[in-house]
């Protein structure tokens, strides 16, 4: 049986994947969409948040005092951060592998940050960023 902190991490991970998809759909960041359609990304994102909540609350009793095995505010913040980080890594890896068509077709402007994900995948953008900065550094 997983401790509450591990369950909380999974809950945040699943829900954060959904929140990123919903956010990306409003920001039109096609490079990190799981699905090509904005509406489907939004729906699947919302569903993912819902699945996280339902899974977390339907499987066990979650109102536990932190003195009796619950998680205190500091640990909650830590596990939330780790869950979101894992969700970001998962999203970047999966979408970079699945959207190869987006790679190599656009110019990267490094001043724009995640705006670049409107036209390219995360790996493509970060790879070109590293190449650009290395060349600039050698000059």
């Amino acid at each position: 049986m997983l401790p509450l902190a591990a369950d909380y991490f999974i809950f945040v991970f699943i829900s954060a994947i959904g929140a990123i998809q919903v956010g990306a759909s409003y920001g039109k960041l096609k490079g990190i969409f799981f699905f090509p359609s904005i509406i489907i990304s939004r729906l699947v994102g919302g569903l993912s948040v819902l699945i996280g909540i339902v899974w977390f609350y339907a499987t066990k009793h979650r109102n536990i005092n932190d003195t009796e095995g619950g998680i205190d505010a500091n640990d909650q913040a830590l596990w939330f951060f780790l869950g979101v980080t894992a969700a970001l890594i998962f999203t970047f890896v999966i979408t970079s592998i699945s959207h190869k068509k987006l790679s190599g077709k656009s110019q990267i402007n490094f001043e724009l940050g995640i705006q670049n994900l409107k036209h390219s995948t995360y790996f493509f953008a970060i790879k070109n960023n590293i190449i650009f900065r290395t060349k600039k550094w050698w000059k």
Partner: protein, 193 residues
């Protein structure tokens, strides 16, 4: 004032324990995780959600403000609890309790102060989503009273601390703007901001 607060608590809490469906729903909604996580996820969505560079920068600064506001709110609650302790309702009244028995001070509500700070951050970034967030915080506050964990004044205290903490956070973020811009610039290099 305290008498009215206690009478109001007893009246609201008297509706608990009447329906298992309502009680189960309330025990989920009043949990330490539900609303805080939802509001934090909303801020995560806002980080990615703006469609122009200008709006994105504004949203991202609001995310910094919200989390700084949350930290200041927690600090303020800890400081108040250091000098003032109020018993929980279940210590002094016959209560239908739908939650575990917290041992910290009832006033002000830490959970409400924290979620209010998050909602304020959302509101500054996006008025429509912010209004929804404030409604969520009010529901959270009502359910905390319904579940027997807080008196209504604890909720009001939490709301006020959350709002004041965000105002302080807003001022600090303005002062620290060059540092925040540097953090965002590093985030842009890593394609994260």
């Amino acid at each position: 004032m305290v008498e009215i607060d206690q009478k109001l608590f007893i009246w609201i809490n008297s509706f608990a324990g009447k329906s298992s469906i309502v009680d189960n729903l309330a025990s989920i909604l009043c949990s330490d995780h539900f609303f805080p996580v939802l509001l934090s996820l909303l801020l995560l969505g806002l980080w990615f959600g703006a469609d122009t560079l200008k709006n994105r920068l504004r949203s991202q600064k609001c995310v910094f403000m919200a989390f700084l506001g949350l930290a200041i709110a927690n600090l303020n609650v800890a400081l108040i609890n250091f000098i003032f302790f109020r018993d929980r309702p279940f210590n002094n009244h016959e209560v239908t309790l739908l939650f575990y028995e917290p041992t910290d001070s009832s006033f002000p509500s830490n959970a409400i102060a924290a979620t209010t700070a998050l909602a304020c951050g959302v509101w500054i970034a996006n008025k429509r989503l912010g209004s929804i967030s404030f409604i969520a915080v009010l529901i959270f506050g009502f359910i905390r009273v319904f579940s027997g964990i807080h008196y209504p004044i604890d909720i009001l205290g939490g709301l006020m601390i959350g709002i004041l903490s965000t105002l302080v956070a807003r001022y600090i973020i303005k002062l620290l703007d060059p540092i925040i811009m540097k953090i965002i610039k590093v985030g842009r290099i890593l394609i994260l901001a």
